[in-house]
């Protein structure tokens, strides 16, 4: 079985994210980059599936991103992934999900695939679109935000639990399929040292747009970010004053609903 895992290099969850001086994006200075958190669940599920299915199954990570993405591909290889495909091309720097999907689709088709795992969203742009665009390009079904994964005996069908509001949705899908993974699906493994050593020798195939013969990247740009906005300063803790507990509670409920917008 050919298992594909999509990978993205994103700023660390703890990194300070500030707008750069040109106002054209974030200031990457001093920012640590990591494997997109949700992609780790995808890697783990891919590896688990390989262990379940056995045979000559392979797990291949496909990553589109800057030169330094090699580091996160190596991390995935250290966790046990067999092979890496790294698509790196300056022309892709500000690619939209549609373009990314076109490029990824080409690389994945060239490699061959039976199932694709990815994270439910990138924790940088938080768009959660690429998987759907990719599914459409590859003409395969998609199942998003899954928390449980099972495969049928004949490896042709998957049984999934997809997290929706306040419930789980049971989904059945035919292979090939693309599945986006959420927290709770599994506990991603820690790379062993022999794994890290072996990863140094595993293949990472580097591809540019020319290699992929992909017309996707020349597609017209369909959207543009016109403004980067910082968060309004949250500042200090707002201590809610009031005569009695009930009064404070009423005010808190109001603030949570109207100001924080979390109710």
């Amino acid at each position: 079985m050919k298992i594909i895992v999509l990978l993205k290099r994103v700023p660390d969850t703890e990194a300070k994210i500030l707008i750069n001086s040109k106002g054209s994006g974030i200031n990457e200075e001093g920012v640590k980059f990591i494997i997109n958190t949700y992609d780790e669940y995808a890697i783990e599920e891919g590896l688990k599936l390989k262990e379940t299915v056995g045979g000559d199954s392979t797990v291949t990570v496909v990553c589109m991103g800057v030169e330094e993405s090699t580091e996160i591909i190596r991390t995935a290889l250290a966790m046990g992934v067999d092979k890496g495909i790294h698509i790196c091309d300056a022309a892709l720097e500000k690619a939209t999900p549609a373009v990314i999907a076109t490029v990824l689709a080409k690389a994945i088709e060239d490699n061959g695939f039976d199932i694709i795992f990815c994270g439910k969203q990138g924790i940088d742009y938080d768009m959660a679109q690429t998987q759907a665009f990719l599914a459409e390009k590859l003409d395969i079904p998609q199942v998003n935000v899954i928390a449980e994964f099972k495969i049928s005996e004949d490896n042709k069908k998957v049984f999934l639990l997809r997290r929706i509001e306040g419930a789980d949705e049971k989904v059945e899908a035919d292979l090939p399929v693309i599945i986006s993974c959420a927290k709770g699906l599994n506990e991603p493994r820690y790379a062993s040292l022999p794994g890290i050593m072996k990863a140094k020798k595993k293949e990472i195939k580097k591809l540019t747009l020319a290699d992929l013969d992909s017309s996707g990247a020349s597609e017209e740009k369909k959207s543009t970010i016109i403004n980067w906005l910082p968060l309004p300063k949250s500042g200090e803790c707002k201590i809610i004053e009031g005569e009695e507990p009930g009064e404070k509670a009423v005010e808190l409920a109001r603030l949570l609903r109207e100001e924080a917008k979390v109710l």
Binding site: D12, E14, A15, K32, Y190, A191, S192, L193, P194, M197
Partner: protein, 666 residues
Amino acid sequence: MTTEGIIILIALSAVLFAFVFIVYRLVKALRMGKSEDRFNNFGQRVKSILVYVVGQARVLSQPAGIGHFFIFWGFIFISLGTGEHILNMLIPSFSYEAFFGTGVAVTISFCQDILAFLVLGAIVVSLFRRFFLKPVRLESDDPKAGREAVFILGLIFVLILLMYGIKGIGIIQGKVDGSSAPVSNIAANLLRNNLIRINVVESVFVWVHHSLIFFFLLYIPFSKHIHILGAIPNIFFRNLGLPGTLTSMDFEDETADKFGISVLTDFSWKQLLDLYACTECGRCQAVCPAYLTDKPLSPYRMIHNLRGHFMDEMGSLLSDNDKEYTEKPIVPEVVSKDELWACTTCGACVQECPTFIEHVQKIVDLRRYFVLTEASFPPEVQPVFKNMEINYNPWSFGYADRANWAADLDIPLASDKKSFDILFWIGCAGSFDDRGKVIAKSVVKLLERAGVDFAILGTEEKCCGETARRMGNEYLAQTLIELNIEVLKGYEFNRILTICPHGFNSFRVDYPQAGYSKPVVHHSEFLLELVKAGKLPSGSTGNLKGVYHDACYLGRYNDIISEPRELVSGIDGVDLIELDRHGKRSFCCGAGGGRMWMEETIGEKINETRVNEILEKNVDQIFTACPFCMTMFEDGLKACGNENVKVKDIAELLLEASKESEKGKG
């Protein structure tokens, strides 16, 4: 040669042959272990033998050791007597008197007589302890261990009685000079009128005695008394470095598919020799914070079980043709995972062991295997490692926030200053923990007041790697250590100052292994230095009764015991009292060895145990010199429902006291 002589010659030859063969196998088995250089510093090693074998220094550090002292020396002199007797049977003309003169012979005989009597006393006391006092250290879940001890003590007891019998008869027969053997004289008096066929009785005594001796010789290697063979070499080959030292690992070989220790033959020969050296005295167990709080770990049991395993496997290990044989994994077959992770690496066991067994190194080596090779450890450990890898601290704080605590304090940065006297290493707790930050800030204020030329690394500082190392993640530890060395090498300074004993220890033992040696000073030493130099006031406070808790990595590991006490008791108004377990024999707070970041789900909580011990002393404050001890005690106090007793770092205390004293002046 007499018939007796021939029989004894044959028996002796057979026994010696068998004994040499057994010892040969034991030595050969050691050679199955990995190499380790313990042959350096010969003079120091000979000195160890004199102090710890001849002088029995560690044995005598506890009252029960006096018994051992007598048994040890009694055994030697009794053996001299037995040797003489046997040689005499072979060569009738042989005697010490004939060979070495009367003086020597009389001395030996006298010492033997007196010591053997003391041994009898020691045995009675030992049995009394074992059966009536039942000290913690003799607790064992292996019923064989206790039986064996009683059997051996009984054997020695019988041997000594027989020896007195033989000597007594010798006196009666005029073969032995009774004046130099007072106890034997008594035996002679008792026997004189009660024996009819004295010669027959004598030869029965002699043959029973010698048979038992031969039996004992062959029994030793298969019992806990193997330590008679193992202890002396183990003391000779002991770790002469600082007690906190761990072996370094080499990651150059990229084809290696295993790291750390999973089977017996992964141990070094010295680690295997440790197994022969254990006397099962249980001193390690009696001080182990894990054992004393009902965790499954007991250092004694671990060594006992490892030795049992070693002995069981020895046949297969030494066999040449058994190609099919695969070694059993130590964990979980011999040591459970819970035991492995229960250790706080406090080092109390190693410190107490009379034969210098290195328990902590073994535990770390076993952890190394699971962390590095299997990537298997308690689930809560994974985020700790990941945080250290990504953000260089065990908590999930962004590394760029490391110097946030110092934001408003205008503290000089190493990157601005380049050259300075003191590099103040803040550590992760000082940088991120709210309580730790207070310690860091207090020290900064004191340094400023004393006019110290210092700087901090700010966001260039990274986790020192100490925790990762003791949790078995040597790869991560080395990575962090190298990153830090890279930064440290860019600046010129004289000493590193730490507020955390773990970082302190790491700079003393871990960093030099990575090629970076720089004098390091803990803030308890440094602040005292400043007070003594008159750069800081010793301060005063209202009446305050407190205890100082010794952090393991400060007191036990690095011998910094008097400095914090001197600093604290120098403050006017402080009434410093001592805990029963203090100084080198302090009791761990429960945070070491990475336990700070693990769940403690089995048994009593170590921190609460220690807090309860402290609360019995009715103190106002607990003084600490380690941010982790502080966290553990604050948690422990809350859990005990005590809101009155406060935990203060000695720097906080000094700062408050110096303010107080100034107010007084004003």
